[in-house]
Symmetry: C2
Subunit: 345 residues, 2 copies
């Protein structure tokens, strides 16, 4: 079997039978790996995301090391905006910083449109990764419109996203124009990756969990639907994830997805009662459990697998990204553990 | 009527009939008020919390300005630890910083015990506030054991509380000793305030929402129960609150409380389905709504009041603390709006 579309991960995302529970980790390519830190030592984050040779190497590192069931394109949520020419950068220890935050219609109009040529390096990187991966699927990746909008509006890090919400409530025309523009970019960015060979996509809405359900439904969900619809005809399963999304899981699951990522707060069997019937789940071990004694971690991982059985399909993952201080050997051992749990346990 | 125990706020917390919906704001005494910034200009946070004259003045400021239905003791979650002699301080823009973080049994044993004399200033401040407030109730305030433990273990700010959870999972004896010690301090700190005249208490578990429900039940809830039991015989209603607690609301509501604070993510009528029957709710307008146009804010406030009617009692509040950039005039207008909404609407 050398077709990634027939891999356990893709099958689980579709709710089809698998040979063993597939596993990958959000932020598996990153600072927890010494080989990553070495590659990144002299290269800024967004520069690394735009160099196909580095993207290929970094994306493949955790597959080689951990034996995970998928690679995920090494990128950043704001990468497409940067590549298209928006004035932003990632400041180490701070996050994305925007030179000229979007606050009005003129700001929306200043944003670059989608130019496939500007993202040519992404297709090149994806083709290189897929050629190397063989039967292992590559997950394409994009930030959802709301999370992109948050970065553009806040201009820098924010705990409460007050400026984003103020614009959402106070300037509906600007909001619609901005979110429409970002939904287009987000969807097309996913499409570029699938057309180059990605077998799955994940849409990250990092900050959506800070919204009340009513605000999420009225001001955010319609645009996530547009982004996800951009790959609806390409026959790849779509995963959708954000943290602290327990109250909006049901709504998020209507965005046009085959699988819902769940953070560690919501037990997977409880998540299944909230999302669409027939949808798979992904998650959701507390990422800090890697610092617990192995027997505690192992018991919890088994609980996650058991809870995931209630869903038509389950992709094992952490409930959020790998923390930088994580010992990579623990992750490798966790992959082995999940793979060894019998499916008829 | 001059008895704060018969005030609308206390009655709402008990699920008894009220004349109008009572309202106060978490962090109502704080940086949103120019008169607060003036008092604090030359005084460090924890110093201000330990000077009865300043505590009285700062606690009363929002009552005078906004006409809220309760004062809440101006304090900080780590204040009792500081007053008892723990080596910590609040660094502006950072938060509580601990000189010698607790990581083992020796660290627990180094912690100070509860000495009523060390907190004499609290009783003095409470008596001064209550004398001035008349029929308006004062809410006593303490951090819950888990949140206190997080500060002591992390040693500084943390997003993921990895060290706290690692100790919780990896050193159960140390955890039990630490949490027992903190439950004692937390409960006694509440008791000091009630005995000096507070009519209600609120136990803040700021970080509990970062725990999975299983961890919350096993490692945290028992100690919150101990803290709240310390005032069970004093005939004051107890409110319990944390952010991002949607998944643990049901469990938190069993800690021994009359009212549950709810963050803005969970609609109040949904919260009522999760918590104990007969319990009141408090909340829960998104604190960033103060930056929305008034008509949007007013409509949302009315929705919150309508949803709160499902509970036996409702105390109007924000779903988290007042943001420092909040225009205080908006809060005053919001108090008037909530007061004017007819209860039989």
């Amino acid at each position: 079997m050398t077709d990634p579309a027939q891999s356990d991960l893709v099958r689980a995302a579709r709710g089809e039978p698998v040979d063993r529970t597939p596993v990958w980790f959000m932020r598996q390519a990153g600072r927890s790996l010494p080989e990553y830190r070495e590659v990144r030592a002299e290269v800024a984050m967004l520069d690394a995301c735009m160099r196909p040779d580095l993207v290929i190497e970094i994306t493949l590192q955790p597959v080689r090391r951990h034996g995970v069931d998928a690679a995920i394109l090494f990128s950043d949520i704001v990468l497409p905006l940067k590549a298209l020419g928006a004035g932003l950068d990632i400041v180490p220890g701070v996050g994305p910083v925007i030179a000229d935050p979007v606050r009005d219609m003129a700001g929306v109009e200043r944003l670059p449109g989608f130019e496939p040529e500007a993202l040519g390096f992404v297709g090149e990187a994806v083709r290189g990764i897929v050629a190397d991966l063989g039967a292992t699927p590559l997950i394409g990746f994009a930030g959802a419109p709301y999370t992109l909008a948050s970065y553009l509006i806040e201009g820098g890090p924010s705990k409460d996203h007050a400026k984003t919400k103020a614009l959402m409530w106070g300037a509906p025309d600007v909001w619609r124009a901005l979110m429409s523009r970002l939904a287009d970019i987000s969807g097309r960015f996913l499409r570029v990756q699938v057309e180059a060979g990605a077998s799955v996509v994940q849409l990250f809405d990092s900050w959506a969990g800070g919204l009340s359900p009513g605000d999420y439904r009225a001001h955010v969900l319609p645009y996530s639907k547009v982004a996800l619809a951009a790959v609806a005809d390409l026959d790849v399963p779509r995963i959708h994830f954000g943290v602290a999304t327990g109250e909006i899981l049901a709504d998020m699951s209507t965005a046009g997805v085959e699988a819902m990522g769940v953070d560690w707060r919501v037990p997977l069997d409880e998540a299944v009662t909230r999302i669409g019937s027939g949808q798979a789940v992904q998650g959701n071990l507390d990422p800090t459990l890697v610092f617990a004694p192995w027997d505690v971690l192992a018991a919890r991982a088994r609980e996650v697998v058991a809870a995931g059985r209630v869903a038509p399909g389950h992709i094992f993952n952490l409930g959020h990204g790998v923390l930088p201080d994580t010992d990579p050997d623990v992750l490798t051992r966790l992959v082995e553990l999940v793979h060894e749990i019998p499916l008829d346990d």
